[in-house]
Amino acid sequence: MTEALLKVKNLHTEFRTEGGIVKAVDDVSFEVNAGEIFALVGESGCGKSVTALSIMGLIPNPPGEITSGSIEFDGVDLLSLPSREMRAIRGSRIGMIFQEPMSSLNPVLTIESQLAEPLKIHENLSGNVANDRAKELIDMVGIPDSATRMKQYPHELSGGQRQRIMIAMAMACSPQLLIADEATTALDVTIQAQILDLMQDVTSQTGASLLIITHNLGIVARYADRVGVMYAGKLREVSDASDLYAEPHHPYTVGLLQSVPRLDADKGSPLSPIAGEIPDLTDLPEGCAFNPRCEWAVDKCRIEQPTLEETKPGKQVACFEHETVALRV
């Protein structure tokens, strides 16, 4: 196994709110290897986006703050970098694509100037050279008629095209890591697959790693090599993607998989959502945060917090009862 490209260790990111301190990311550790596709999954508010923004150094402060932990990228601790050096990495060695293609592009700047910008910042390309490269990038992400597109503004493009532009922008300087934060959530299902295929293509061409943040388990199954499942700010299970579906070891993962609607289910059979609700992050239950919703919960779960432990090669689970859960079917 090659050395991991990205090592997140014991990351804690907190937000100060009126309701108290929210531990949006609470002791999260995972690694992304060079060239692999790693997916972070979980419900809204579980901390997956905050994890991505922490890696990018884009946590708005105040109210947010990375309180402890380390994020090692290609051997360098990003959290200890001065802001100027972090800026040199953002957009050049780590690219990021955001959820909202409609609002993530600047409405008053042309596609050309927005695409050429990272090239001008990081590779010191002059205006014309950067613009030529920008045109190539539009071709690369499969948007026809690049010469016209260059002069257009974001509102003249469809959602899918805008997300392609975002990918082109994020890939402009051939980053080693591309982070896609819910990049396809706002798109039509058919466009989603195209955009994901495109991200897979462009990253595999350059050998870049891809960190996909999603709540969609279908995407995970189709694209990811490895998966981290997050709940209430903590990683609950890290696993090879195929293994996650075959052998979920965490009750939350089991619940997630069961709540996915299936085409092959009997017509009229009810969905089985996870009982209960996501806890308030300012007021988490004692012990394991999932225990009020967990059918396997024992007394220990209500007192102590389980930590992420390796249960077999390539699989880590944070659950006291994972053996029982694994045997459930």
Binding site: A88, G91, S103, V108, P118, I121, M166, M169
Partner: protein
């Protein structure tokens, strides 16, 4: 774009007519008999009647108004009751002081307002930001005439840096021209820039929360570039609106300013005309102000399309 401009100009014709009807009516029904004022204290009823006959006051209201509009449409603003001279002729020498004052105030207040507003947004939440905004609140809470008298007292009377009153036309030298207008320009600019500054700050802070600002940061753009290149233009729409509105405010503010600083501009001319009940001048000046404001609004609307490519006419 040209089609839009022509359309807007055509649409503003009824607006100008409405303003004309309202001003003419207001002045017509207003108290005071111009004939009595023209004739003086010792006029006999016969003299008053002769004056009324001579100036057409005996005709019916619709006829008087129709006559006024007819002349207006031919570029004739009428004749002053007092000097018996053409109003266009009277207005011409009055244009320079007012236009020069207006131009300087708009340029200066825009520069001061936008730069302090951006500085406050850049340093949002700091002591500098709070101090700037306290100044801005003071700025638009301060009555213009009070600030005018204060500056005259400090800078003209006590320090003697500027003339207390008086106006020096551009023909007599640019420096003495600017020098003579310095205090009124400063007073009006400080007041107008306060509002522009606050709006700039809040518009910038709002835009800085947008997703595309995060995208710009994710590209590795410096904070300076995020601020000027990515955030300023999208926040310029409300700022342009406020600058347009402050020009409208200046139109009334100048009545006061020109009176206090004894500047022979249109504002003073209006005050003099009202005191003398010189109706044709009042009506003509109100029409001029209305047309200027319609023009300013049109320019602001065209600016919108330039600032934001999503706006097309």
């Amino acid at each position: 774009m040209w089609r839009y401009i022509v359309q807007r100009v055509l649409v503003s014709i009824p607006v100008v007519i409405m303003v004309g009807i309202i001003t003419f009516t207001l002045v017509y029904v207003g108290p005071g008999d111009p004939a009595a004022i023209i004739a003086g204290d010792e006029a006999t009823p016969e003299i008053l009647e002769a004056i009324r006959e001579d100036l057409g006051f005996n005709r019916s209201f619709p006829v008087q108004m129709g006559d006024w509009f007819w002349k207006l449409a031919h570029g004739d603003l009428g004749t002053s009751y007092f000097s018996r001279r053409e109003i266009t002729e009277l207005i011409t020498p009055r244009l320079q002081p007012t236009l020069s004052l207006g131009f300087q105030v708009v340029v200066l207040s825009t520069l001061i307002g936008i730069s302090t507003g951006m500085l406050a947004a850049w340093k949002a939440g700091t002591r500098l930001d709070r101090n700037l905004m306290v100044l801005a609140v003071l700025g638009f809470a301060t009555p213009g005439f009070w600030l005018a008298f204060l500056t005259i007292w400090v800078f003209a009377v006590n320090l003697g840096w500027f003339p207390v009153i008086g106006y020096s036309p551009i023909q007599d030298g640019l420096f003495s021209h600017l020098h003579s207008l310095f205090l009124p320009v400063m007073v009006n600019s400080i007041l107008a820039s306060a509002f522009i500054s606050r709006i700039t700050r809040s518009a910038m802070l709002e835009v800085l929360r947008e997703d595309y600002i995060r995208t710009a940061r994710a590209k590795g753009a410096s904070e300076f570039s995020v601020f000027l290149r990515h955030a300023f233009r999208p926040s310029a729409i409300p700022v342009a609106t406020v600058i347009g509105a402050s020009i409208a405010g200046l139109a009334t503010g100048f009545v006061l300013t020109e009176t206090i600083f004894a500047i022979p501009g249109l504002g003073r001319m209006l005050v003099d005309a009202i005191v003398r009940r010189d109706y044709p001048i009042i009506q003509a000046l109100l029409m001029v102000v209305a047309v200027v404001l319609i023009g300013v609004n049109l320019i602001v609307d065209i600016l919108y399309a330039y600032i934001d490519p999503r706006i097309r006419y």
